[in-house]
Symmetry: C2
Subunit: 235 residues, 2 copies
Amino acid sequence: MVPISSQSDIAYRQIKEMIFHLELLPGTRVPELQIAAKLSISRTPIHDALRRLAAEGLVVIGPHRGATVTCFSEAEIREIGAIRMFQDILAAQLAAYYGSASDFARLDSLADACEEAAARGDVYGRIRLDIEFHMAISEISGNSHLVRQQYEIYQQIHLIHISQYKDIRHSLMQIHHHRPLIAAIRSGDLSGIRTLICQHVKDFYHIDPYLIRCCLSDQGPLPPEGAAIGPDQGA
Amino acid sequence: MVPISSQSDIAYRQIKEMIFHLELLPGTRVPELQIAAKLSISRTPIHDALRRLAAEGLVVIGPHRGATVTCFSEAEIREIGAIRMFQDILAAQLAAYYGSASDFARLDSLADACEEAAARGDVYGRIRLDIEFHMAISEISGNSHLVRQQYEIYQQIHLIHISQYKDIRHSLMQIHHHRPLIAAIRSGDLSGIRTLICQHVKDFYHIDPYLIRCCLSDQGPLPPEGAAIGPDQGA
DNA sequence: ATATATTATATTGCATGCAATATGTCAATA
DNA sequence: TATTGACATATTGCATGCAATATAATATAT
């Protein structure tokens, strides 16, 4: 009665695992035939798996050039961060509305696990559990399409994190925001949710201060400080 | 020098066109062999095209059951509407920051075209141009990943609209919000942007009033009216 | 007549072969 | 030496055949 997985599904999971285990580094090519040989199956399911990974942004496919593990630029990381911030806010605010006590308890235990991983110096575990924590919020939101989108973007974020985990940037991951965020969700503190999520992501992704203002701004048309409009005002 | 399109690309575009022309109605199956015969190519590129359309949410694929044109439920439409609202707000606020005068002029002309289509009773044109208008805002935002996400969700929205264009719901499409939205973007009125986008989408997608409050709320933890927290507070 | 079991058909999943294209190597030339 | 060209290799794109599965039709039993 177990849902039997196709060769294509197996290939999809295996290749993804290779990427996340850094056996396939960003920028390296992923030839169909080599993977096929390694998994002892034919090229066809590998082909499908790679297209699927491409749709999720983990590899890039060019015509007659095949698949390459995605290598995100600094600009792309900022773009993804901005999207993540807004999505997280939507998810958390919905979770505050629809979440049950047991849902929030699950968040607590995930925050526990994440802190434990951090305490024992398990970097990969911390990355994985941080993502699991945020995906749990997404699932509590009850919006299945949002879950799908967040699953996709968090896979990209996963790749970004593991490929620069020894970078300075990585120390900017602020897992100590988890507890207050849970509290804000529990109490339905919309403004607190926005503030905490902004704090949680702004450093790592170098979020533009303007976008922070967009999220937090509790005032009308007039901006609080100096330049309200962007740099390119003229034609 | 024209980028030669593969058979798979052609199939992808052709099938998508069939869906948007309602030659393939939501819920109907899309057998590889039939499409292959119609396009005079083999099953393989059709197979790839269908997986690509599945990744974009236009068809649903089941194991050994093949592809079926997606039929969105009422609940899904609400979910998609919530996501769209937040994405649109992000896009418009970025566009307000990064947009140039010529960018805004393009928005004006698209709003023109959309109104003209509405005036002449061209329902399909109005749907298409409304989407083009919103995608233009997305492009002005300068966030390529956001563009990709919005392209995907607007394709789903396109399918939703055309498949119920004679429904009551469709009269809820409020294109008269375009002009004020452009004005708000031009002047960098963040609060105005949020308000207008909420107004623009809330009726069609039956957005929960709670979510509207999340977007517009300019106050702290305490909610303005009655129930602050969701329905499921207990364990 | 309805429900169930069985068979037949249609459709997809996967493997493999061939053609087309890109990539890397090496030699020839400026 | 650097650059360009031709050639060889590796890799993908597509077509087709076979096996596995789901769907539909039919027959059977209650």
